[in-house]
Symmetry: C2
DNA sequence: TAGATTGTTAATCGATTAACAATC
DNA sequence: TAGATTGTTAATCGATTAACAATC
């Protein structure tokens, strides 16, 4: 019986999210029990790493048998907080904002977008994917009323900081930022930047190296 | 004069992309020279780390003075490949696909989306943000003709692997995957998953810890 | 029992940070 | 010159991997 769960790194969190994804996609009933060896193989990871990660989320598997799949899934879901949803609001109902609003799956991941904001008068009052769009002026007030702790920013870079400030005025404590902007927040607020430029830089470098290693054709 | 540029980590690449973003947003002419100390402070990083990162991209700054801003910008741009653009195609013209097509800034980052694909007959033949939408059946053929090496996947998870296979048939060597799916690719192909679920998991954990440290209100 | 698999302890590796010398 | 800043070498830290004991 494992005891003190070790603190977890961001990289490990990402992997754990991957495991869940993988486990849920396995054909129903095909693997009542699954081993770290198989998971590692399928996902291209080290098996010890998989076991270490899994040691953080539940109370372990059984030697010779592996981990009970259904149990592992609910352990991970609990660990990632998928079972107690947090409410969020989204600011900036452009294409990306609409895409995120329409993407129904966030609920599965414990995120519940309950309202949207925009500065465009034509959008205010309308419904996008079942969520009402309010004026950005209402951000602080509505966030307080709804007791929202998570704000998603999908506005142009130039407006990102201002929008962020209003969210924080409304009591938001976590910012998920999709704008290509550097935003500063006080210490009591956390921010996760979804930096496409950085991702693209990584992809480009990977491609370049790979072309060197395996030839350009 | 620094000599052998060290190999660079993905984390470092992300930071370098951040530096560029920051440098470009500085008021024109205000800082002809900028120090690693200031960059580090503004971006909440360690100054030695900033210097190490910058040592990889150009041929350094001057003691007491710092780095010449204009030079640093073009060094980073060159390093990240922003000056020689790569062509890419995008598959899946839903909300997210549209958002990426409409997002004009990829050109600045050296990525040039030249065509899109979808399976919806109503979309095929139309133009989205100036790019023609073709049938997914045409993927291998058109990718070969256009000599495209980068494919962006924004289809539902269930179709992602199939779409990926077609891209690879067409000679694509790098996949930027936005579908919440585990895709397998041969070794000569690189893949970068844009995993929203993982990002969200990180944000949630950060929020939870922060609420513990700074109180829930 | 024998063997597959887990979980843990120790070793390795890589990235970050600290200390300091070089230099403009 | 003195001091700010760079760049480098060494130390630290954390994450990954290897080796192995425990166990079903």
């Amino acid at each position: 019986m494992p005891e003190n769960k070790p603190r977890i790194s961001k990289a490990a969190l990402g992997r754990i999210s991957q495991y869940l994804n993988y486990l849920k996609k396995l054909p129903e009933g095909a693997y009542p029990y699954i081993s770290s060896t198989i998971i590692a193989e399928e996902l291209g990871l080290n098996q010890v790493q998989v076991r270490k990660d899994l040691a953080c989320v539940g109370n372990g598997g059984k030697p010779k048998i592996g981990y009970k799949r259904s149990e592992l899934i609910s352990d991970i879901e609990h660990f990632l907080g998928h079972d107690d949803s947090s409410d969020a609001v989204l600011v900036g109902v452009g294409n990306l904002g609409k895409a995120l609003l329409a993407y129904g799956n966030f609920n599965k991941y414990g995120l519940n977008i309950i309202a949207a904001f925009d500065s465009d008068k034509n959008l205010i009052g309308s419904q996008i994917a079942g969520k009402t769009v309010y004026s950005v002026d209402k951000i602080p007030e509505l966030c307080k009323t709804l007791n929202v702790k998570i704000g998603i920013i999908t506005v142009p870079a130039s407006e990102a900081q201002e929008v962020c400030n209003r969210l924080i005025d409304g009591g938001v404590r976590a910012i998920w930022n999709f704008a290509p902007a550097i935003i500063s927040v006080p210490k009591r607020v956390v921010i996760k930047n979804e930096d496409m430029a950085a991702s693209l830089a990584v992809l480009s470098k990977m491609l370049k190296e790979n072309l060197l290693n395996y030839g350009a054709d």
